[in-house]
């Protein structure tokens, strides 16, 4: 029908600004993008309004359970003034028209809060323009109600559906100057909006990567070396080809990049169970390389040895910590550590790929499709333009799926097999071939003066290196709390060479650093006879913004007042210091700033004489700025993050033995279960700052808050995780 389709091209500039250009793509291109059906009018790349008034909004980012598939369209719908009941949401493919198609770092809210509302506002302005033209009135006399444009002076109204075709021909507004709603007028943002996907989830509709089905599809497993990066020497793959159901079995020679395609043997069969059963007959000789010293016991011993010497580098040095310890009334030295962790997404890694006629189609549960497509292109030697990536719903991200190793494996296997292939890992594959949260060791010394003020702190952080550089997510920033608030402070770093690949896990760095620092600060408070809440408020001091030091992690700074606010709120809600708890029961406080969010949590826990820990209650207080976009999801995210932290602290930790991960399933790595999950009360403190993300920042305080509660309950200080490795019994 109509020829013109206006596309708003929006991309984020490095400085956070916005680039807008309007383009009218050739009809052929628009059709090939598959975005606009014959009855729909594309207002731009994000919004389609059908003549019947149905508004389809594209969700550009991967959905991993953080709720972004609802949240981003809510931003557009609000400013478009769409009738939410008429909105349907469509998942985008990987598509160069959309900036930042990634689920990571709790960034979707801060990065999209302004631009996507501008997109919606532009659509609204174009609809108003079309109505004004239709009525021959000034656009200024028109307003909108959900789903329609009104001209009050004449009492006329036209639905968005009726205006859609004409609106597409309206000039594209300048997004940078477009007027946005007063937040007081929000009708969608700030409402408890239910996830439109839930009816499909609860009826078992196929939607995850593992559910993808392509005609003629075969099923694959891929056996790699359990020592990461081990090289294939030989295998009995010829025998495997003869097993029932096996359609192909072949060796794969990969590269040296642990995040790319590695050596292994692929087994492709008519169904997955046959493929995996045939794989059990594999006999492979590997060259594991040098695995000397690559065991958890070696790492711990090396860390202790390193702690006795000078740090290899100094990350930060303020004042004179050594001299200040000499003047302190209370000096505490303590060693803390935390283990390697796997992400354990409940949906095991998988990907479906189909290579035909030089084109590759991929269906991937990925958090980060663009680097995946690049990796596939370079590994297979095909242009990126020949690759289509469909983003499926993701059965848990947690940072694991920022890597795309499973994607390149599926693509390679499908190309060699000459058929559409679904690659699916076992749980053991998943646990043993992860990019692990790095373990860490902290050797602290703290000094408190006679007035109970923290005057000196030092940390010798023993972490890991990969090929000589700091291992992924194994670093610490120079602004780590309480830096900038303690006069005499020194952070030193030493590194142990590591062959096991590491990477970001939900609240990377913070999920380990938070435990170590917040536990040690609690230890210092108790050692000097201070109440941990008062001790924290004294460290924070007067409300003020402390700018970040220059460097790769430089952000908008740390606001002591916002942290004070959430500590006071958590303490108030928990009844901190106001309750008499039974013997063996205690409350612990921890607070942490990460991913632009300020969180304080109080955990109440008890420990039985037999050493059994019961987490009785958690109070979460958070400050993520001026607007809770969807309170219904916000509460869920904060509850889940806090409980994720509790589960991690209680039962999760991996052991490295001769370069391989020992644990393989949920009998030895113990995620939280229903019987361990306490009630979680969530409170948000609304402040004047721009809204920020919620996928991660509620997690870090939960671990130390639990450890601190156990100290309050028992007098036993927990300096390493997981708790399942500690005997807390008091009966001899």
């Amino acid at each position: 029908m109509l020829a013109r389709r206006n596309f708003l091209k929006v991309s984020l500039l490095a400085g956070g600004g916005l680039l807008l250009s309007a383009s009218i793509p050739a009809t052929a291109k628009a059709a090939s993008l598959g975005k606009a059906g014959p009855d729909a009018v594309a207002l731009n790349a994000y919004v389609r309004i059908a003549p019947d008034g149905k508004v389809t909004i594209t969700a550009k980012n991967p959905e991993i359970g953080q709720g972004v598939k609802m949240m981003l369209p809510m931003l557009i719908a609000e400013e478009l003034d769409a009738d939410w009941a008429s909105v349907q949401i469509e998942q985008a493919d990987l598509d160069a028209r959309y900036p930042g198609q990634v689920a990571g770092g709790s960034t979707a809210t801060p990065l999209n809060w302004l631009p996507l509302r501008q997109v919606g506002a532009a659509g609204r302005q174009m609809l108003i323009g079309a109505a004004a033209a239709e009525w021959s009135v000034s656009a200024a006399e028109c307003e909108t109600a959900p789903g329609e444009v009104l001209h009050k002076p004449s009492g006329r109204r036209l639905s968005y559906g009726a205006l859609a075709s004409k609106a597409a021909a309206q000039p594209v507004p300048n997004l940078a100057t477009i007027k946005l709603k007063d937040p007081k007028a929000f009708r969608i943002i700030g409402q408890p909006i239910r996830n439109l996907e839930v009816p499909r989830i609860v009826t078992g509709q196929p939607m995850f990567g593992i559910d993808v089905s392509v005609p003629g599809m075969l099923y694959a497993v891929f056996q790699k070396c359990d020592v990461h990066g081990g090289k294939l020497v030989s295998s009995n793959v010829a025998e495997i080809r003869k097993l029932p159901g096996v359609k192909a079995a072949f060796e794969v020679k990969g590269g040296n990049d642990l995040r790319g395609l590695l050596d292994g043997v692929a087994v492709v069969a008519e169904n997955w169970w046959q493929a995996n059963r045939a794989r059990q007959q594999l006999d492979i000789i590997w060259n594991e390389g040098d695995i000397g010293g690559q065991s958890s016991g070696d790492f711990a011993a090396t860390a202790v040895r390193m702690s006795k010497g000078k740090p290899e580098s100094i990350l930060r040095s303020d004042g004179d910590a050594k001299a200040a310890f000499g003047k302190a009334a209370h000096v505490v030295e303590a060693a803390y550590s935390y283990p390697f962790l796997s992400h354990i997404n409940l949906e095991p890694q998988n990907c479906t790929a189909h290579y035909a006629n030089g084109k590759l189609e991929i269906w991937a549960p990925t958090q980060n499709p663009a680097p995946g497509a690049k990796l596939v292109a370079s590994t297979l030697g095909i242009p990126e333009t020949a690759i289509t990536v469909h983003m499926t719903r993701v059965g848990g991200g947690f940072g694991r799926r920022l890597s795309n190793d499973y994607m390149v494996e599926a693509a390679w296997i499908a190309k060699v097999a000459g058929a559409p292939v679904k690659l699916l890992w076992t749980r053991e594959d998943d646990m043993r071939h992860d990019f692990y949260r790095p373990a860490g060791f902290h050797f602290f010394k703290g000094g408190v003066d006679a007035k109970g003020q923290l005057i000196a702190l030092s940390d010798h952080f023993v972490t890991f290196s990969e090929n000589g550089a700091i291992a992924a997510s194994a670093d610490m920033g120079p602004a780590e709390f309480p830096a900038r608030m303690v006069e005499n402070l020194e952070f030193g770093v030493s590194m142990i060479p590591l062959r096991t690949p590491t990477g970001p896990l939900r609240a990377p760095r913070s999920n380990g650093l938070g435990f170590a620092f917040q536990s040690f600060l609690d230890e210092l408070a108790h050692a000097s006879g201070r109440d941990p809440v008062q001790f924290a408020l004294d460290i924070l001091g007067a409300p003020r913004l402390l700018p970040d030091p220059p460097g790769p992690r430089q952000g908008p700074g740390f606001h002591t007042g916002r942290m004070r606010g959430v500590i006071e709120l958590a303490a108030e809600k928990a009844g901190w210091g106001k309750k008499t708890l039974p013997k063996g029961t205690g409350m612990g406080l921890a607070y942490y700033f990460s991913h632009l969010g300020y969180f304080a949590e109080v955990v109440q826990a008890s420990v039985s004489a037999g050493g059994a820990i019961t987490v009785e209650k958690i109070w979460v207080a958070g400050d993520i700025g001026s607007q809770i976009i969807n309170p219904l999801n916000a509460e869920n995210q904060a509850q889940g993050a806090a409980l994720d932290g509790i589960g991690t602290a209680l039962g999760q930790g991996l052991t490295v033995e001769n370069g391989r991960i020992v644990q393989g399933n949920f009998d030895s790595v113990l995620p939280l279960r229903m019987r361990q999950a306490p009630p979680v009360e969530v409170h948000f403190r609304v402040t004047e700052f721009p809204p920020t993300g919620l996928g991660e920042p509620a997690l870090p305080p939960a671990l130390p808050a639990l450890a601190n509660a156990i100290f309050a309950a028992t007098g036993r200080r927990i300096r390493s995780l997981p708790l399942k490795d500690h005997d807390l019994s008091t009966t001899a």
């Binding site: 359970g65 009826t203 089905s213 169904n271 848990g396 699916l424 995620p671 999950a677």
Partner: protein
């Protein structure tokens, strides 16, 4: 080998190895993708189905052992009154995050309410602790079970 099993009230014939777990027959042979794979070791509960009304882990149920038993999966649990109320409570309370475990959770929750119409927290802990939720939506799962118990009664 040929097996005829009853899935969601319908006899279905499949030609698979007798050791094939019911999970893979459902997912790969019968294209019922709602039942999920999580661990392959009866540790996570993502593959929970009902066999003659009892919750069972499909990943540990060889097809040869199914016989004439009635298999119910998430795709048909809404056909029972309690299943329907459980699904409705899950929607009303916006329980899921990623959603991957929720089919298994709903199957276990429905089986619980079939036998225990007014479950206590302890009953919920006992019936639901075999189902992992990696997103830890336990607060809402518990609340949704209680809400479903309530709405079934009224």
């Amino acid at each position: 080998m040929q097996y005829t099993i009853t899935v969601n009230g319908t006899p279905r014939s499949v030609d698979v190895d007798g050791e094939t777990p019911l999970l893979w027959v459902l997912r790969d042979t019968l294209d019922l993708k709602g039942t999920k794979f999580g661990c392959g070791a009866a540790q996570c509960g993502a593959c929970t189905v009902h066999i003659d009304g009892h919750p069972a882990r499909a990943c540990q149920t060889p097809i040869a052992t199914v016989g004439k038993a009635a298999i119910t999966t998430i795709e048909a649990i809404g056909q029972s009154k309690i299943g329907q109320h459980v699904q409705a409570a899950w929607i009303a309370l916006d329980v899921p995050q990623c959603g991957y475990c929720q089919a298994g959770q709903i199957m276990s929750a429905t089986a619980l309410l079939e036998r225990t119409p007014a479950p206590t927290d302890h009953d919920i802990n006992e019936a639901m602790s075999g189902n992992l939720c990696r997103c830890a939506t336990y607060t809402r799962i518990r609340a949704a079970i209680k809400q479903a118990a309530e709405t079934v009664r009224t």
